[in-house]
Symmetry: C2
Subunit: 230 residues, 2 copies
């Protein structure tokens, strides 16, 4: 299943932003231990609790990142799209993954040994600096998710998720999604049944239009109001 995407990192036009801070010799070091892997829909890239050996950079498709709680309940904390690398906090503390990454659709990713990346962080300040920014933004995102989940009601959370899908993840409206209703529920901290119900009320009120995997936002500003007022 392993499948080379590009001859090497130097030529790669798919490389993540932070790699632009690396010089040729540094890129070659990365390239030497890089493998490109193709994942089918639903396949696990790494699993919460397992040791983290590799740094993952998504080059095609869509990958969901989620926390696994007791009894099958999941919380989606984010997605990785081309070209995002996945920041794994465990790499800097207990060498374990603290969330699971799964391909939502046919996806490819480059894997690089974490040791190499950590070496580069030590020698290349610019690289380290853009890394810190990424990490910080992830933390800020978690703050917002925590506030939203504990303080907003279901319609507010759902409105937020729909806006996020259209603006950030798919960057189009309408958008065709490979996410299930369960995934949307996991993004908004509710059960699948509740997610479907809220989406139906939104549909009945003319806020959105859904047809299978296609979702269109009809009244953006009203949806934003709902998202703000919880």
């Amino acid at each position: 299943m392993a499948n080379l995407l590009h001859a090497n990192c130097l030529m790669c036009r798919m490389k993540s932003d932070i790699f632009t801070t690396l010089n040729d010799s540094e890129l070659n070091r990365v390239n030497d231990c890089r493998v490109s892997i193709k994942y089918h829909q639903g396949e696990i890239i790494f699993k919460q609790g397992s040791p983290c050996h590799d740094f993952v950079c998504v080059t095609s498709g869509l990958v969901k990142l989620y926390l696994e709680g007791e009894g099958d309940r999941r919380i989606i904390i984010g997605f990785a799209r081309p070209v995002d690398y996945i920041f794994v906090p465990g790499a800097f503390s207990d060498k374990r993954h603290h969330f699971t990454a799964v391909a939502c659709e046919e996806s490819t990713a480059c894997l690089v040994e974490v040791d190499i990346i950590q070496d580069l962080l030590k020698t290349n300040q610019e690289f380290a600096s853009s890394f810190m920014t990424k990490v910080s933004e992830q933390a800020i995102g978690l703050f917002e998710q925590l506030t939203s989940f504990t303080q907003k009601h279901m319609p507010g959370r759902m409105a937020e998720v729909l806006i996020c899908l259209s603006q950030k993840i798919y960057q189009s409206n309408p958008f065709i999604t490979s996410l299930t209703r369960q995934d949307i529920a996991d993004m908004s901290g509710m059960t699948k049944e509740s997610a479907i119900r809220i989406m139906k009320t939104f549909k009945d009120e003319g806020l959105i239009l859904t047809e299978g995997n296609s979702i269109e936002i009809l009244d953006f500003s009203r949806l934003e109001t709902i998202s703000r007022n919880g």
Copy 2:
């Protein structure tokens, strides 16, 4: 109100772990722009949304860090105790504070310009590395809080908070706390009334003993079971 604690950073036996990675000249640079401030109970050290100019290191007392949502609701995401520095993710992205820091009791803190710290991160790899570890651990803590808040019921969350207070924050049992019931509620994602109610049931069941600001855990293992089973 400003009040010098120590002549300078070199002599300071109160300095945070990460500063042990700095040499004398680096410590002097930190010292040159360092101010030590004394805060009274309830005083704000920095406020969510405000620009972040300073790196804060708590040298005495207890500081709570919380997210402010709509309508007065708060979520305590952590505490800073001697000698902790407060990681401010905004320093690496939008230069804004994303949570508020308030002294729970009489506290002192050293403030250092963020620019100095960011310079040091660029020049001292060891310093940067221990910084990354700290950031990562904060992210992992947020994952746990998010899972707990969305998946556990009130008794589970309260049990968790009580154990955390005794083991991590005060490291004693019984412990005398300067936190109000509202603070405990903000830590466990519930209203003050609910927090009081749950604590009463714990008291009635012989799990804990409370008297004013003193809390004692009587049955640790049963509390842990409750915390694990939600």
